[in-house]
């Protein structure tokens, strides 16, 4: 074989090896987290290992539509994950445990199921005593019917309630408010000389006095980002996904592993006084923490902090009561 043929072969073979090898090397050395709509697999991988105090660098890309990435119970801004683009993010965990990361964009019908976990290992710097959620210590049955037998004819007004409130036998503490449903407080007020509408107004005032404008605003934001897609912007259970979820019924659940027997239900209507006035904040806390167990309602315990859940609950009652001033 002459030299020029040999040299040509060398270049051809080098070129082919480079064309195959280079992309494979770069590809295997850049582990990406792929985001897909839950129906098509969700996060991949969906379990990530990390160590306490050691920065965790993630490269996330979307294989279909715009997704968002955030880690539950962490003080972080969610970041957008764009199709075909790579988003870099660095996280540092100061406590060991299992964290949940989740999609923050309404990407598809099963958006709420698009979650994964980060398993952070290491020894805790200062072990915190674990606290039991209020609904557990109150021993509430989250699935028992809790409708209020009496409902007001008009939306109770906190402003009117404030004028009536003085010297009434109610406990203004957060503990009392959180462990009682509006209907229970309404019944507690039956010993007073107030009329029924007046009693409801006092309840509205008590509920507002347990909230601040900041906590309501925070609750409103959390609701808009996480709840409104199903429960509706105005709480009426008519969010953009509500109809689709109902229409998809069981079939939308069957795409999820091990969820064959679930039943899809229509999202709860927070404007229904029967339901809301019969529910205590502690009961709602339980429902949010645990989720709907077999309905379309996901569990939020791994995502929201306790404070966020209380803020959210304060906001949910604003669908029932007329509060002083607009919620920002």
């Amino acid at each position: 074989m002459n030299r020029s043929e040999l040299l040509s072969r060398f270049f051809v073979i080098t070129g082919i090896i480079l064309a195959i090898g280079a992309p494979l090397v770069f590809w295997t050395r850049t582990p990406l987290i792929h985001a897909r709509m839950a129906e098509n697999g969700g996060w991949n991988p969906d379990v990530i290992q990390a160590e306490v105090g050691k920065p965790l660098q993630l490269k996330i890309t979307s294989d279909d539509v715009v997704h968002g990435f955030a880690v539950g119970q962490m003080d972080m801004q969610s970041v957008d994950v764009l199709p075909g683009k790579v988003t870099d993010i660095t996280l540092t965990f100061d406590k060991p445990g299992i964290y949940t990361f989740f999609c923050t964009r309404w990407c598809g019908l099963n958006h709420w199921r698009m979650r994964g976990t980060i398993e952070v290992s290491g020894s805790p710097s200062d072990p915190e005593p674990s606290t039991v959620p209020l609904y557990v210590s109150l021993n509430l049955d989250l699935d028992a019917p809790h409708d209020s037998p009496i409902v007001p004819n008009e939306k109770p007004s906190a402003i009117s309630g404030q004028l009536l409130e003085t010297n009434l036998p109610i406990d203004p503490s957060a503990e009392y408010y959180r462990s009682h449903s509006p209907y229970q407080v309404f019944t507690d007020l039956s010993t007073t000389s107030l009329t029924e509408p007046q009693r409801w107004d006092v309840v509205a005032y008590l509920w507002q006095s347990n909230a601040t404008s900041e906590s309501l605003a925070n609750g409103k934001q959390l609701y808009a980002q996480n709840c409104a897609a199903c429960h509706g912007e105005n709480g009426a259970g008519d969010g953009v996904f509500a109809d689709e979820l109902a229409a998809a019924g069981e079939s939308s659940m069957q795409t999820m592993e091990g969820a064959m027997d679930m039943m899809m239900q229509s999202p709860v209507d927070f404007t229904d006084p029967r339901r809301m006035l019969g529910a205590s904040p502690a009961l709602l806390q339980g429902k949010i923490l645990r989720g709907g167990m077999g309905t379309g309602m996901p569990m939020w315990g791994s995502i929201f902090t306790e404070e966020q859940i209380w803020d959210l609950i304060e906001y949910l009652y604003s669908f029932q009561f007329q509060y002083q001033g607009a919620i920002q």
């Binding site: 074989m1 020029s4 043929e5 040509s8 072969r9 270049f11 051809v12 070129g15 082919i16 480079l18 064309a19 195959i20 992309p23 494979l24 770069f26 590809w27 850049t30 990406l32 490269k59 890309t61 979307s62 294989d63 279909d64 199709p83 075909g84 683009k85 790579v86 988003t87 870099d88």
Partner: protein, 443 residues
Amino acid sequence: MTKIELTRNTFIKNALKSRYPQLAVFIVMLVGYIFAILAGLIGTPVGSHNFSIVFVWIAWWAILILVAVPFFGRGWCAVCPIPLPGEWLQRGAVLGPSEKKPKWLNLRVPKMFRNIWLQNISFLLLALFSSVLLTTPNITGIVLAAMLFAAIGLSTVFERRAFCRYLCPVGGFIGLYSQTAPIELRIKDKQICVTCEGKPCYNGSQAGYGCPWDVFPGGLTKNTYCGLCMECIRTCPHDNIAVNLRPFSADLAKPSTRMDEAFKAFIMLGSAIIYAGVLLGPWGTFKDAAYNVGSGTWLIYAAAFLAIIFVVLPGLFTLGILDMKNTLSLKQRFASLSTALIPLGLMFWVAFSLSFVLTNASYIVAALSDPLGLGWNLFGTANTAWQPMLTALLAPAQTLALVGGLIWSARTAQKAANEVKVSSIPVIFYSLIVTFIMLWLLL
């Protein structure tokens, strides 16, 4: 008009005769092609950001249909990487002829396949799945790889470039439209070929290989099957091969007589119209049908696609030329007069391609910086936002292409009709109607 012999220029001639410039281009193309396959298979599944989709279906297609085919005919075939690995294996060498020829089967392609019907079928197969193929990197990667392996396989079984000549899905229409290009490879003096002993341009010699495209250069009258591989320039012992600059559409003065080529003209014309309607039109139902490959609606779409191409368009054309009083058979008239649809089809494709190429060209810049979707930014252009280009020029350019195509086709129809001694009016009327349809779909 006269021809200008480009090979008279010694620089051009030497550049074409030497194997090194060609090999250098081949290596670059092959590397790019293999890279595109890998990008399709391992890169982001998001088509608009994947190198394979963006470079093959936007950049390559734009260059092919807007530049290479109209101006260089089979210029793309001259640098196409697909047949190379197979051809190198077949020859046992990547450069000049080797002393030892490998023992492959080297069969002749059976006579029944020595036409472009297989190419018509392979093009239609891709066309029917095009909405998925053009948007799914995985599938693009698989199809590109399949073509490479098909070419290798055919090279080991059959002689010469059987894949290019008889199977390549794009080779068929490039050949058809290359007749309109202002570039040709021809012999200088027929007499020299007649008396030439051994015909090394076809049979090969120590200087080079016999025509890989299975064409005897001495008999070349049109561009259709000459792949511009330049092998005959190297083998001709009499320096009798020339590359000429010539007027556009010179080959169309001699109308085709073959049904496979006639139908190719209808396939291309019809698919340009259908694509303009389905991919660019406002009808969501059509688009859904085209995308849901395998579904019932897709089957209807596929059936309608084939019916328009094989029944409606040729049927109406046949009705138009049915009544002509002529000694030639209807079949001969059909084949000859359909030549007029070649420039029209090419300009339909130019007009259609302008629209999606200008719309999506900005993806090329972004994909260049991050070809594998790994978050790179090689040239600082990875975050270029999608933006249609030259939008103000699009409609005028498309109109110009379509009206120009109509005039070009009418002139071709006159020449073809003269040749077979019939009236050109029905063909011109037919061209007018389909041009109006295309104008309506695009504008």
